[in-house]
Each structure stands twice: as C-alpha cells, then as structure tokens.
Amino acid sequence: MKKYVVDKLAQYVIVLAIVSVIIFVMVRLNPTDPVSVIVGGKQTTAETVANIRAEFNLDKTYFEQYLIWIKGIFQGDFGTSFQYRQNVTSLIMKRLPVTVGLVLLSSVIALVLSVPLGIITALKQNTPLDTGLSVIQLILVACPPFLTSILMILLITIFTPGVSFTGSFTNFNEYMQRILYPSIALAFSMIALTSRVTKTSMIEQLNSNYTLVAKSKGLSMRQRVLNHCLKNSLIPVITIFGTQMGVLIVGTVLVENVFSLAGLGSILIDGVKSCDYPIVQGIVMLLVFVFITISMLLDMLYAVIDPRIRAKSGK
C-alpha cells in the first residue's frame, strides 16, 4: 500500500509540472500583445510601454517569467491581473466558493441519484421501466449543461415566479439557493453517463459466478446486490466519475455564465478575451490541480476497495 501511494504521488507531481508548462505556453500562443490590452488602445509613449512591460515582468525571457510564476504559486501568489490590477489570488479566493460549491453539490447529486438508478435499471433490465429510464438518460446525456440551465431557468420562472435564484448572495442560505439549480443542471449530464456505467457493471456482476454462489447460499436478491455486487460494480464507476469531474469543472464555467453567478468562470472568460495571462494561467492551473488531485484520490480509493490492487503494488 505504501509503495502504491508513493508511486501515485510521484506521478501526480510529474503531471502537475508538465501541465504547468503546457498552460504557460498555451496562454502565450495568443498573438495579441497584452500591453495593447493593458493600455486599452490609448496613445502611449515607448517609455510607458516599457514601464508596463517592466511592471508585469513582460520584458523578461519566457523562462524567467515561468520561474517567477511557479515561485509565486508556491508562495500562494498567482501574480497581478493585467486588467484589474489586483492580486489574482484574492480574485480567485473571492469567487472560489461558487465554483467549488457547484462542483461538490453537483457531484453529490449525481452520485446519490446515478448509483441507485444504475442498480434499478440493471435489476429491471429489459422491462418498460428500464426502457423509459434509458430514454431519459439518453436525452440527458445529449443535452449540454448550458442548454439544461437555460431550460431550467425557463421552468423555474414559469412555475415559481418571483423566486430569486441568480445574482449575489449575502448568507449561507442564499448561497445554497444560488448554487442549487445550476448544480442540478450540471449533475444531469453526469447522472446519465454514471448511471449507465453502473448499470452495465452491475449486470456483469449479477451474472458472475460468485453471485450464483451467493444465490446457492440462500442469499436474497437484495443481499446479493448490496453485500456482493455493489462493491465489485463500483470500480468502473469510480473511473468514469473521475474523468467526468473534468467535464464538470469545465461545465461550471458555462453554467455560471448562464445563471450569472460570480464564479471563476466569468473572470476566466474575460481573462481569455483580454489576454490577461496571470488570470488565465492561475485559474486553469487551479482547475487542473483540483482535477488531478481528485483523480489521484480516486486512484487511492481503488486500493481501499480492491485488495488485489493493494497486493499488486507491494505491501
């Protein structure tokens, strides 16, 4: 187990390092000169331009810029935004609760609904219930989160007019109200895929030899599913859930926009438009960091569930 954890941690660090380089390069592939955005098209002297370049370290080589950026990250400083002239860290921190809330709440909703849904459709395989639920799943998987969001806003305003669900918030209750609907919209696309994977994997386990043995031991259907098949069928579900987290994080950017929530999404899009290197770098790095961390934790979870993985990687 120890070796497994160490291996995974090493992989994790290497991936983060590579990703940071990729992000840094990609941001700079944009042909626009950030200085022109910073001065906002005003008449400027060569001296002012040089000053601005010096202020934002744009006069240094790319390699030096990269080192400054990485050094800053380790000190919790993502640099200064070109357009807001503010510290990126504090900008992110102010908007983080919305994005984190969205990701967490939508994944909880997705998990809580999709695993039981997968089990039910597996048990009721080829019945009208299964067919009906499969059609709904297909529709959900085909709907991008922003479309679901727009439809949801429509439905909410039609059926409960006057309820405020967008804009800023001042207390926890309001916060939950703000993030609930976008989370549901985000969760939908996740439920569809996760429940299908749960279903397939559960059917496979139900047809396995050990389940037949469990039946021959006199265990009821319920016991067979809950005590034997569930744990076995969750392994592929964890895999798919991990990759879906990435989709989810990207989805928050869109959904925040539709629900006009002050999350990371809106400043990220602004940042891309105005060539604001520190903002884009900082936020993308943070999202990638979260995504990779989740994947790593899920890898660890495999080992907790499956003794064979623990053994293979040495004690």
Binding site: L212, V213, S216, K217, G218, L219, N232, P307, R308
Partner: protein, 322 residues
C-alpha cells in the same frame, strides 16, 4: 433407504432468440439418502442444468421448467416460492461449483464469506460464526485457519479455494451436497485430494452427494451409484460396480472403452465418433443411434424406455447385450 430427492420427468427449456433450446429433455433421477450419486455424460448433455434445477438456480426469466423435483418425499421444489427456496439453498442443499477461482467474491475476505453462510441460516452471534468457520477451515485441511480466515481469495491457490468452497457448502450440514464438476479445473493430484475430502465428509455427516462430472475416473473413485446421461436423457443407471463391469447401454460401453488405461502406451486413444445432437432439434428414436455401432432401423423409429436388468440397474436400449 429412502429417497431424498426424486426427480420426475424434469424438463428445462431455455428461451433463446433463435428458439427454444431443450436443455433437459426428460430426466428421472432418484438420489437416496446417504449415498454418493454420480451423474456422468459429455459436455452439454444437460448434467449441470439438471443439478442447478434442483436448487432452482437458473434465471427463471429465460427458463421454463416441467415435471417435478420432490424433496424429502413431500414438497415439489419446482413449485416453491423464492422465500422458501432461500431457506433450503445453502442449508438443506448446497453446491460446489466448477471454477474455484471465480466462485468466491474477490473483494471479501474468506472468513466473511464463510460466516455469511452460517449467519444466513442459523441464529448465532458473529463470534460463534467465526468460531465455526475456523473449525470448518481446519476440517477441510486449511491451515493456519486463523490466518486464512483473514485472507482474500486471490491470495489462495485453486485447490485451497475449492476447499474453502467445500467448507462453505457443508457449513450448515446440508442433506444434499451437489458437486458440479468440482474437480475439473484442478490438477490431478489436487483432484484426488478434493475427492477424498468429499468422501470423508460424506462419511462423517451422512449427507447425500450428487457428483456431476464427465470423468469416469471421478465416478470410480467415490460414487456408490451412477447415472449416465446422453443428449439430455438418462440412458443407464445402476451401482458403480455394475456399470463398470456389466454396462448394458452402448453409450456407457463406449465411454468406458474411451477411458485411457494406465500402462498402455503408444496406442491410439479410443474415441466415440460424431458429436451429440443439436439441442434445438426434436429427437426421434434413440438419440445415440447416429453414433452407435449397433444402431438398427428400429432404433431410429422410436425411443427406447428405461428397463430393469437386475437390482437397481436400468438402461434404455433396444438391444439386449448379455
């Protein structure tokens, strides 16, 4: 001796997209109390199907049963409700399966899977269940029991896992133990050990055992009585000695002929030409006629019935071999 299980005209039909498959055509089988009963036949002849029917283990959305399986002279297993079946499975009738590598849940400890069987059928505490599981492990020759109890299936060898399966199957002192090709996946020396273990346990508990195999060697080793199956019907049955030394049905004769003999080297292995009939087709006459060297027109016209020839010995063939 009275019958524990009496199978009367059992039919099992499997609904497949390409039509009904007759997995078991018409089986009559009596399993006496305290006996080891062998059921032998080639692959796909319906042996396992028959065995699984005794515990109603088939997926009944796709299966249709016909006939009766009378348990202890009064209840028909085929008409039991699922709840009643759950009481019988594991407690009165239990089963050991073919591939020990896949019959245990890979994610649960050996001990937990053993305890589960005991806790399911008996009102005992977890500590008592553990106590009994450890004794069972020792009984089937797994040492050190305490350590194995905590291990996962992938940490044990095939032979050991099959021992664990046996321990699990006998945990609640069943009246009937069904061993469905239980030694097929194991190598020969382990096979012999497992067979000896089953025989020993049978002698201790006085339970009945139904041994399903395609291997006449296994039958010779432990069985008291044997039934020979061909194309989903029983063609001959009788005491093991009788069947070996005085077989009446040509199929039984051919099967015994084809057992490789030790000491004979270089000779060609005797085989039975041809293949068993298609299970989807309706069979007219004797199913073995196509492959039988004694077949006549009479054989192809109508099916022979089981006839008695001596004590407990019956066979279904129109020819009477002395």
């Amino acid at each position: 001796m009275s019958e524990l299980i009496n199978i009367k005209n059992l039919k099992v039909n499997l609904m497949s997209p390409r039509g009904i498959v007759h997995a078991v055509r018409d089986i009559n089988l009596e399993i006496a109390q305290g006996q080891i009963h062998g059921l032998v036949g080639e692959s796909g002849c319906g042996k396992s199907m028959t065995a699984k029917s005794i515990m109603r283990l088939h997926d009944e959305k796709k299966m249709l049963y016909g006939g009766e399986i009378i348990y202890e002279g009064n209840t028909d297993i085929l008409t039991m409700k699922e709840k009643e079946l759950e009481q019988i499975r594991g407690k009165d009738i239990s089963m050991i399966f073919q591939d020990p590598m896949t019959t245990l849940n890979p994610l649960l400890r050996i001990g937990k899977q053993l305890d589960e069987m005991i806790l399911q059928h008996e009102k005992v505490s977890k500590a008592e269940a553990k106590e009994r599981s450890l004794k069972l492990l020792e009984k089937v020759g797994i040492f050190p029991a305490e350590q194995r109890y905590k291990q996962y299936p992938f940490e044990l060898s095939g032979g050991m896992l099959q021992r664990v399966s046996i321990a699990m199957a006998i945990a609640c002192n069943p009246k009937l133990l069904i061993a469905d090709e239980s030694t097929t996946a194991l190598d020969v020396t382990v096979q012999a050990q497992i067979l000896r273990l089953i025989k020993e346990l049978q002698e201790q508990n006085g339970m009945s055992v139904l041994v399903i195999t395609h291997n006449f060697g296994v039958i010779a080793e432990i069985c008291d009585v044997v039934s020979v199956m061909y194309a989903e019907v029983i063609v001959e049955h009788g005491p093991v000695g009788e069947i070996f030394h005085n077989p009446k049905h040509p199929y039984t004769m051919d099967l015994i002929q084809s057992i490789p003999k030790s000491g004979e080297r270089g000779g060609k292995l005797v085989t039975i030409p041809g293949t068993p009939p298609d299970l989807r087709r309706k069979i007219v006459g004797c199913a073995y006629a196509e492959r039988c060297k004694y077949a006549t027109d009479a054989c192809r016209e109508s099916a022979p019935q089981l006839e008695s020839c001596g004590e407990n010995h019956e066979f279904a063939c129109k020819h009477k071999f002395a």
